[in-house]
C-alpha cells in the first residue's frame, strides 16, 4: 500500500514517470493537478500517464489515465488539447468523462467537433435514441458522459450545435437534462433554460438540487440569485454558486463600464447573508 507522500514537483514527476509502483503514479498525477504544477516536465509526464496501459482497475478502466486527464485540464496548457481529444475515444467511460471536463477547462474550440461527434449516435430525427438514454449493461453509467459533453459544448460556445443539444433537454437522467439546459442557456441566452433550472432548485432530492445550484452558478444566471440564496441546500454550495453569478456580473459590469452595479451589490448582499 502506498502512503501519501510529501511531494515536491520534482519528486511527483519522477513518481509519475517510474513504472514500478502504480499507487505512487496515481497519486502523483492527482498531486500535479491539485497543486497546479504547470511546467513542461509535468505536462510531458501527465501525457505519458494519459497513455498508460499498466494501471488497470477491477472494472477494466484506466485509473492513471483518468487522473492524468483531470490534471491536464487544471494546468491550462494547450499542448494537452489533442491528446485529450484522442482520449475521448478511450474505451473507459471515466477517461472520456475526465477528458471532456478537461477540454471544457482548456477552452479550445478544436474540441467542439469531436465532442459533438460523441452526441450524434444518441440522436435520430431530433429524438433521443435508446443508445442515448440506456445505461450500459452491468454498469452504473450511460454509453457516453453526456453531462460533461453538454457542459463542455456550452462553455466552448458551440453555437452551431444548438439543434444537436436540444433533444437532451428531455433526457430521463436529470443531471444530463440540467447539463443541456445550462449549455443551451450559454449558447442562446434564452431565460427559458435558466428558469427550468431555478425550478429544479425546488426538487425533492438533495443531490439534484445541488446539481442545479452548480449549473446556475456555472452559467452565471443572475436572475436566479434570490432563488439560489433561499434554496434548501448547504450554504457552502450556495456560496460557490453565488460566486459564479458574481463573477459573471462583474464581467458584465466591466464590459458596460459600470462599477458595483445594482445587481453586483445585490449578489454580494445575499452572499454576506449566507456566511
Amino acid at each position: 500500500m502506498t502512503e501519501a507522500p510529501n511531494l515536491t514537483p520534482e519528486i511527483a514527476i519522477q513518481n509519475l514517470i517510474q513504472t514500478e509502483d502504480l499507487g505512487l503514479r496515481y497519486y502523483a498525477a492527482w498531486w500535479l493537478g491539485k497543486f497546479r504544477v504547470n511546467t513542461p516536465e509535468a505536462i510531458s509526464a501527465l501525457l505519458l500517464g494519459l497513455d498508460d496501459n499498466r494501471d488497470i482497475a477491477p472494472d477494466g478502466g484506466y485509473p492513471l489515465r483518468r487522473n492524468s486527464a483531470k490534471a491536464l485540464g487544471k494546468l491550462g496548457n494547450a499542448e494537452a488539447v489533442l491528446p485529450l481529444i484522442n482520449a475521448l475515444d478511450c474505451e473507459d467511460y471515466y477517461v472520456r468523462e475526465s477528458a471532456a471536463q478537461s477540454l471544457e477547462m482548456l477552452g479550445d474550440k478544436r474540441a467542439i467537433s469531436p465532442l459533438s461527434a460523441l452526441l450524434q449516435p444518441a440522436i435520430q430525427d431530433d429524438q433521443l435514441t435508446a443508445y442515448g438514454t440506456d445505461t450500459v449493461a452491468d454498469k452504473p453509467h450511460l454509453y457516453q458522459p453526456y453531462e460533461a459533453i453538454l457542459e463542455a459544448l456550452g462553455t466552448l460556445q458551440a453555437k452551431n450545435e444548438v439543434n444537436l443539444l436540444k433533444p437532451f433537454l428531455k433526457h430521463p437522467v436529470p443531471k444530463v437534462s440540467y447539463g443541456a439546459h445550462r449549455a443551451l442557456y450559454q449558447l442562446t441566452g434564452d431565460n427559458i433554460y435558466g428558469e427550468k433550472l431555478v425550478e429544479a432548485l425546488q426538487g425533492k432530492e438533495l443531490q439534484l438540487r445541488r446539481s442545479a445550484l452548480m449549473d446556475l452558478g456555472a452559467m452565471g444566471y443572475v436572475k436566479g440569485a434570490t432563488a439560489i440564496a433561499s434554496a434548501y441546500a448547504e450554504n457552502s454550495l450556495k456560496l460557490i454558486a453565488m460566486k459564479g453569478l458574481l463573477e459573471h456580473q462583474i464581467n458584465f459590469d466591466q464590459q458596460t463600464n459600470q462599477s458595483l452595479s445594482h445587481d453586483t451589490i445585490m449578489i454580494m448582499d445575499l452572499m454576506d447573508s449566507l456566511l
Binding site: N235, I265, M268, L275
Partner: protein
C-alpha cells in the same frame, strides 16, 4: 404536558431522519429557553438538516443559550463542536471570543473557519466591560488579518465582511486606517475577482460613512 414538553418528546421519539428534522424545526421555532438542552443535544446527532434547524433555534434564543453551550462543548465530537461554533458566531456573545479566534484560524473545515471569521465581525461589543473592550478588539483585528490570507476564498470573503463590520464598531482611527489599507490591497491584488469586488464594496461603504 406543556406544549414545549410535547415538542421535546417529539424530538426524542423521532425514528427517522425526516421525522427528526421536522420535530427539531418545530421545537426550534417555539423559541423557548426550555428547549435549549435538547437543541444542543441535536447538534451531536450527525443529522445536518436537524443541526441546521437546531443552530437557527439556538441563535434566535441568543444570550440565554451561551452559558449552556459553553458548558457542553464536546471536544470529542467534531461535528457537534463545529455546529456550536456556528451558533456562537451567530449570537455574537463575546464570551465565545477565544473559541471563535481558534476556530477561524485553525479549524480544518473551511465552512467552520468561514462561520467563525464572520462571527468575529459581529460580536456584541457592548456586552464586554469597557476595560476589556480594546484588548478584545485588537485580538479580533489581528485574527482577521490572519484569516484574510486563508487559502480558501470563502474564508477570505467572510474576513472582508468582518473587517468592514469591525471598522464600524471600533473608535481607534489607527486600526481603522489599517483596515482600510488592507481592504485596499485586497481590492487590487486578491487572486479572485469576486473578492476584489467585495473589498471595493467595503471601501465604498467606509467612505460613505466617514
Amino acid at each position: 404536558m406543556s406544549n414545549i414538553d410535547e415538542l421535546i418528546k417529539g424530538v426524542n421519539e423521532a425514528d427517522s431522519a425526516q421525522k427528526l428534522f421536522l420535530a427539531v424545526s418545530k421545537l426550534a421555532q417555539a423559541k423557548s429557553p426550555q428547549a435549549i438542552p435538547t437543541l444542543i443535544e441535536v447538534l451531536g446527532f450527525n443529522n445536518p438538516g436537524a443541526a441546521v434547524s437546531a443552530t437557527e433555534g439556538l441563535i434566535s434564543l441568543g444570550e440565554s443559550a451561551v452559558t449552556p453551550l459553553l458548558a457542553n462543548i464536546d471536544d470529542y465530537n467534531y461535528g457537534a463542536r463545529a455546529w456550536m461554533i456556528r451558533v456562537f458566531a451567530g449570537i455574537g456573545d463575546p464570551r465565545a471570543l477565544p473559541l471563535l479566534i481558534k476556530a477561524s484560524i485553525s479549524d480544518f473545515s473551511l465552512s467552520v473557519r468561514r462561520a467563525a471569521a464572520k462571527g468575529l465581525g459581529s460580536l456584541q461589543w457592548h456586552k464586554l466591560p469597557l476595560s476589556e473592550r480594546e484588548g478584545a478588539e485588537k485580538q479580533v483585528l489581528d485574527t482577521l488579518f490572519t484569516t484574510i490570507d486563508d487559502g480558501e476564498w470563502v474564508v477570505r470573503y467572510a474576513s472582508i465582511v468582518s473587517l468592514e463590520n469591525l471598522y464600524k464598531t471600533i473608535n481607534n482611527s489607527e486600526w481603522q486606517e489599517e483596515i482600510e489599507q488592507k481592504l485596499h490591497t485586497i481590492s487590487k491584488k486578491d487572486q479572485e475577482i469576486a473578492l476584489q469586488c467585495r473589498a471595493s464594496k467595503a471601501l465604498e461603504f467606509l467612505h460613505k460613512t466617514e
